[in-house]
Assembly symmetry: C2
Homo-oligomer: 406 residues x 2
C-alpha cells in the first residue's frame, strides 16, 4: 500500500512530552511485515507499578487481547512490560496465535527477569496471518540493552495505516511534587471501539492503587475512546493499558486534578485517532442532550456519528440536517419529532419538529466549510447527554480501503 | 442533481407484468419538485379489497406514515386508494405535515367517493421542506379521469434517486382460476429498513382475509425488505402496502403456492432496491448459519452487510476475509472464533479459527471479480440462520451523497 499523505486534521507536529519516572521505552525493526521502519515497541515499568486496562469486546478478539484479559486483574506490584508489534494482528490465527503469544511473553519475561504474567502484548496489522513470533523475539536483546527511545519513537513504532504519530500529556503540580501523565495511541480505520480503541498506552508516575486506577480508566474510556468512531467497524485488537509507576505522589480520589488530567490525556488521544480517520477532512463533535437517559443519548450520538449519509453530507459541506433527523430516528433512542432542537455550531437549525424560522441556509453552508464542526441535538425529553466524535466519509476512505489491495 | 447512469446491476428492462383485476393505475406530473417527469402515482382498488402494511419504526417517521399506521388495521372492505408523490418526503414538517396529509386525503376521498380512512398516502424525497399539497391535489381530477397507466409508468412515477424503475410479478394457477400478484418499489439510498423499505406496493386479485394477509406480509417483510441494506441508514418514510382485491380465487393458508409467490415478489422487489444501491457495482448475498438463534444470525448477517470495511473490500475485489471475521466479532451475536467456517462462493476460506489449508488466494481473487457474490459464515453453534443482501461501497456512493449538493 502506498504511503498516505498526512491527514489535513493532524497537529503541526508531535508534542513535547515529559518523561514519566519509572517508564523506559525502546523500539526496534523486527521486519514483521514492514521494512525500513521500526515495528516493535517495548515499555518497561518499574517495580511498584499498578496496571489497568480495557479491551475490545469483539467476539473474535485477537490472541494477545485474550492473554491480556487474563492478566490485567493481577494485584501484584512487580515490574511489568508492554510489548507491541505492528504489521500483523495475530487475530483469527487459531491455536498458533496463542502459541505465538506464549513464545513472545516467555522470551521477554526471561530477558527482563519478570514473571510472564506481568508481560502484556498487543499486535496490530493484518488479520488472519500467522505472526512470525521469532522475528519479534529476535529483537528482545537489543530492545533491553539498546538506547532509550522517545515518546515519538514509541508512538511511531506502533502505527499501521496511521498518517501521523499520536501522543498527549499533562503535568500536575501537587504539594508532594509533580505528577506526569503521558500517552501514545495508534489507529485510523476500523474505529468504533467497543471498550477501547485500537491501541493506546498511558503512563503516569503517580502512586495509585489498582482498583482505583481501573475504576478511573474504565469510566474515562467510556467517554473518550468509546465515544469516537471513524467507520463503525470494531477492531479485533482494541487495547488500552494504563500504568502508574508509583514513584511520584499518591492519588486516592477519582476526582480532582489527577483525574481531570488523566481524562484529558485519554480524550486528546481519542481525538487524535479521529483526526487520523481514514480519508478524514473534517473533525466533528456530536453533542446529544435532553435524552431520556445516557444510553439513549449515546445511541443517538453514535447513530449520527456513524451514519454514512450524515458523514457524506459533511464531506460535501452540505448542511443537510434532514439526515441528522433520520439518524436520530433510526437510533433506537426514545425521541419525539416535535421536541427535537438541532444546532449547527451556533446556528439554530430546527425546533418543534420543523425548520427554524430564523435559519438561513447560507449561514449553515458557510459554517459547513470549517474543518472542525459541532452538531448538537437536544431531544427535549430528559437529562441524558453524550458527546461523540467522528470524521467525514470521503473518497479518501474508499481509496484507502477499496482501491488499494491489502 | 445530475441524472445518474443506470446501475450496472439493473435488469435488462422493466419486466412484462400481468394486470391485477380490481387495480387501476394512473400517474401525473404535479411538479412537486421535479419537472418534466411524472411524480404522482394513484392506485385505485375495487370494493372488497383487503389491505396489509408494514411501516418504518423510525422515531422521526414522516407524517404520511403516521397517518397510514392509524388506518391500516381497518377491517372494512370498501374500495381504497394508494397515492404517492415523489420529490418531497413530508418528513420533519411539524403540524404543517399533518395538515398536508389531511388536505390530500380529504380531497382524494371526495374525488373518488371513498371515506378518508381508505386513502393511504406516501411521500418520498427531501426531508424537512413543507409539502406543497395544492400541487398534488391539483392533479386529482386528471388522475381520476385520465388514461390508465402501466406498471412501468407507476413504478417510474414514484422514483427519486433510483436509476431504474422496479417491478416484479407472479401468476399462480389454481383450480378456481389464476391469481395474479404484481408489485412495484422504489429506493436506492437510505436503505436499512426497519420494517419495510422505502416504498413498495404489491397487488393481488386473490381473495384473502385481512388478518391472514397481514400475517403473511409481516413475516415475508422480515426476510425480504428487512433483510437488505445499502448504507445502514433507515428512511423516515419506509412503507410497504399490499392490497388483495378479492376478485379472484380465495386464499386461506399461509403456506402453499400463493404464499410462495407473494414471498417471491417481495424478495424480487427487495433485491431490485439493492441492485439500485447508490454507487453499487456488486450484488452480495450474505448467508449466516449455525448461530445460536435467528436474531443472532440476523445480527451477524447485517453486521457483515453493513460493514464499511467489508463493503469497500468487495468494491476493491479484495477477498479480505479478516474483515468478515471482524464484522461477526463486533455484531453482538454469540460467536466462537474457533468454530467459525467461512466460504466465499464455493471456496472454503477459513475454518477452526484460522485460514483453511486448502484456500488459494488466487481462487478467492478470481471469485471477487464477479458482479454477484455470496459470502457464507457458519458460526457452528446452533440452528439460527439468516440471509441478508447488500451491495458494495464505492466512490459512486460518495459522489452521489457528498459531491452533489442536495
Amino acid at each position: 500500500m502506498a504511503q498516505l499523505p498526512v491527514s489535513p486534521l493532524a497537529p503541526a507536529g508531535f508534542p513535547s512530552m515529559p518523561a514519566v519516572r519509572g517508564v523506559r521505552l525502546a523500539v526496534a525493526e523486527a521486519g514483521v511485515r514492514y521494512t525500513d521502519r521500526t515495528d516493535v515497541m517495548l515499555a518497561t515499568l518499574a517495580p511498584g507499578s499498578t496496571l489497568a486496562g480495557v479491551f475490545t469486546q469483539s467476539a473474535t478478539r485477537a490472541a494477545p487481547v485474550l492473554d491480556c484479559e487474563t492478566k490485567i486483574g493481577d494485584e501484584s506490584t512487580e515490574g511489568a512490560a508492554f510489548l507491541v508489534n505492528a504489521g500483523n494482528a495475530n487475530a483469527f490465527t487459531g491455536v498458533a496465535g496463542q502459541q505465538a503469544v506464549a513464545e513472545i511473553t516467555d522470551a521477554l519475561a526471561a530477558q527482563l527477569g519478570l514473571p510472564p504474567r506481568r508481560i502484556f502484548t498487543a499486535s496490530t496489522g493484518v488479520i488472519g496471518e500467522p505472526l512470525p513470533a521469532g522475528r519479534v523475539t529476535a529483537v528482545f536483546d537489543s530492545l533491553a540493552k539498546g538506547p532509550d527511545a522517545t515518546w515519538e519513537d514509541a508512538a511511531r513504532a506502533i502505527t499501521t495505516t496511521d498518517t501521523f504519530a499520536k501522543g498527549a500529556s499533562r503535568v500536575i503540580e501537587t504539594p508532594d511534587g509533580p505528577i506526569h501523565i503521558a500517552g501514545i495511541a495508534k489507529g485510523s480505520g476500523m474505529i468504533a471501539p467497543d471498550m477501547a480503541t485500537m491501541l493506546a498506552y498511558v503512563f503516569t508516575d503517580a502512586q495509585i492503587a489498582r482498583p482505583l486506577l481501573q475504576e478511573m480508566v474504565a469510566h474515562f474510556a467510556a467517554i473518550t475512546f468509546n465515544a469516537i468512531t471513524v467507520d463503525s467497524d470494531t477492531s479485533t485488537s482494541d487495547t488500552l493499558l494504563v500504568a502508574a509507576t508509583g514513584i511520584g505522589p499518591k492519588v486516592t480520589s477519582t476526582d480532582g486534578p489527577f483525574a481531570e488530567a488523566l481524562y484529558a490525556v485519554m480524550r486528546d488521544l481519542a481525538h487524535l485517532v479521529v483526526r487520523d480517520g481514514e480519508g478524514a477532512t473534517k473533525f466533528v463533535e456530536v453533542r446529544v442532550t435532553g435524552a431520556v437517559d445516557v444510553p439513549d443519548a449515546k445511541r443517538a450520538a453514535l447513530a449520527i456519528a456513524n451514519s454514512p449519509l450524515v458523514k457524506t453530507a459533511i464531506a460535501g459541506e452540505d448542511p443537510n440536517w434532514g439526515r441528522i433527523v433520520m439518524a436520530i430516528g433510526k437510533s433506537g433512542a426514545r425521541a419525539d419529532r416535535d421536541r427535537l432542537t438541532l444546532h449547527l455550531g451556533p446556528h439554530l437549525l430546527a425546533e418543534n419538529g420543523q425548520l427554524a424560522a430564523s435559519y438561513r441556509e447560507e449561514e449553515g453552508a458557510a459554517y459547513m466549510k470549517r474543518a472542525e464542526l459541532t452538531l448538537s441535538a437536544d431531544l427535549g425529553l430528559g437529562p441524558g447527554a453524550f458527546t461523540a466524535w467522528t470524521c467525514d466519509l470521503t473518497h479518501g476512505y474508499i481509496a484507502i480501503n477499496a482501491d488499494y489491495r491489502s
